[in-house]
């Protein structure tokens, strides 16, 4: 199965980003295209593709980032200050119309535009910064510091015990939805340590092992790298962290399969297909 937000056809050419002559050449390429966005959200064409226009479509004062090339054609996005997007759960319905590799290209663009919009000043000295490296950095001339787009690693995991996995429910979820538990990896932690800490904090269970399964870039709430794991735990006795979760439940393979099939008797509604939580449940239900 393809995981949501992966498989973009974009070639990033990231070793050429600091080359101003190369950027000028790509800008002058008659094949160059501009990704159309509504704020931060994608414009979906009939057939499930992203919508592209000529570079001339942009507001003249707005700067561009060179995402890379797609099938040899330079792909740009406008770094519109203050661009905002729809709430995630609304947008996931729009994304269902978009082919997965197209959603992956959009995700990279969204992260970049959003990062520039929220990082226009130097965290080191407070001065205003300028777009650099073809849109993949900002430079502070006042203290001569380069700043690069931020991606936060997040662990997302299924605790596993006696043939069942643990799913949890946050108050903000749609009714009946449950998903894998998750949390940010902190400074000074490995993936395995972050998984164990989050499971103990949120559910009171102690991991005896951590198995990596898959990863996914997640273009909401900044840019996140979701690192999906399964972790066998010592016991199924739960201590719920009510600051984060309103319910936890253990579900066996029959229940997970029913949930993924949206069956009437399913014990919960599953996370959307775009999410790595869905992929974790799907692979676990298949015994992978």
């Amino acid at each position: 199965m393809t995981i949501g937000f992966t498989g973009s056809p974009l070639l990033r050419h990231n070793h050429e980003r600091a080359d101003a002559a190369e950027l000028a050449r790509q800008l002058a390429d008659p094949q160059a295209r501009l990704l159309r966005l509504e704020g931060l959200d994608p414009v979906v064409e009939a057939g499930g593709g992203l919508s592209w226009g000529p570079l001339a479509e942009r507001e003249p004062e707005v700067e561009l980032a060179l995402l890379g090339t797609i099938a040899g054609r330079p792909a740009f996005v406008a770094l519109t200050p203050g661009a905002r997007g729809k709430p995630m759960f609304t947008l996931l319905r729009v994304l269902a119309e978009l082919a997965t590799p197209e959603a992956a290209t959009w995700g990279a663009a969204r992260c970049l535009v959003d990062w520039h919009a929220r990082h226009r000043f130097c965290a080191r000295c407070g001065a205003a910064t300028q777009v650099a490296r073809a849109g993949w950095a900002r430079h502070c001339a006042a203290c001569d510091t380069d700043h690069f787009p931020r991606t936060d690693p997040v662990v997302i995991m299924l605790a596993e015990h006696a043939g069942r996995v643990l799913v949890g429910r946050q108050p903000r979820y749609p009714a009946h939805r449950y998903s894998a538990l998750a949390g940010f990896v902190e400074v000074g932690e490995s993936v395995e340590e972050a998984v164990a800490r989050e499971l103990f904090e949120e559910a009171g269970v102690r991991a005896t092992q951590v198995r990596y399964v898959a990863s996914q870039p997640w273009p909401f709430g900044g840019s996140q790298l979701m690192i999906g794991c399964v972790a066998p735990v010592e016991s199924d006795a739960l201590t719920i962290d009510t600051n984060e979760l309103e319910d936890l439940k253990w579900v066996d393979r029959v229940g997970v399969r029913a949930a993924l099939a949206n069956a009437a008797e399913a014990p919960f509604l599953p996370p959307p297909e775009y999410t790595i939580a869905n992929a974790l449940l799907t692979r676990w239900a298949r015994g992978e």
Copy 2:
């Protein structure tokens, strides 16, 4: 084998960080301790432990972060502005004297102190920010934004072909040293995509699969999460990226074992024991 910078005995209590009364209680605890640092570097006691002192040891105007508790005792570090550390290759020799779990605690502290020192202003609006959440955030009162310590995910990998793995040499390395290739995960990429992109950019090889092996927090150059992988590739024909590397070589298990044993006939000097590159090579040499 234990991987460097993992296994800290620190309990982070991160759900209590926003609780000012809890922080006051930990500050008033007569068992509370202050981690001694020289700039950003550890002070190593006889026996391989970190050095701790009373909270009163700190400069009175310097703010504190609550790292967490160790064996029930509150563990603080001073957020000294402008703290600097020794170069990494120098410091790795100091770290060789420090027990691994102690190095892990120091690594978390170093990342936190270094992050505060380099992020004293709001990236969104440019105003000066204040320490918040017991030292695990900075708050901008001007635009009401919280900023959290940054950790950059990095992929580090061994390409594998016909019983050999690929190691590369950066110009800054000590003489004869080779290591795994590595690079930052960019916005909009999965771990697997970043591994494939980096291997193609730096060595011209195409990954057919990516296997996760292990991870490591790396407390230099900001805070990095090193995600270690092995990736079988289509062919052993190489195209070196001379901007990043000065040499690449394929090495078989006999050669890797000789390198790890520092044997006279070894084809290269291995990365230091603290690194995940060393762990990747060790596990691969054992056939794991």
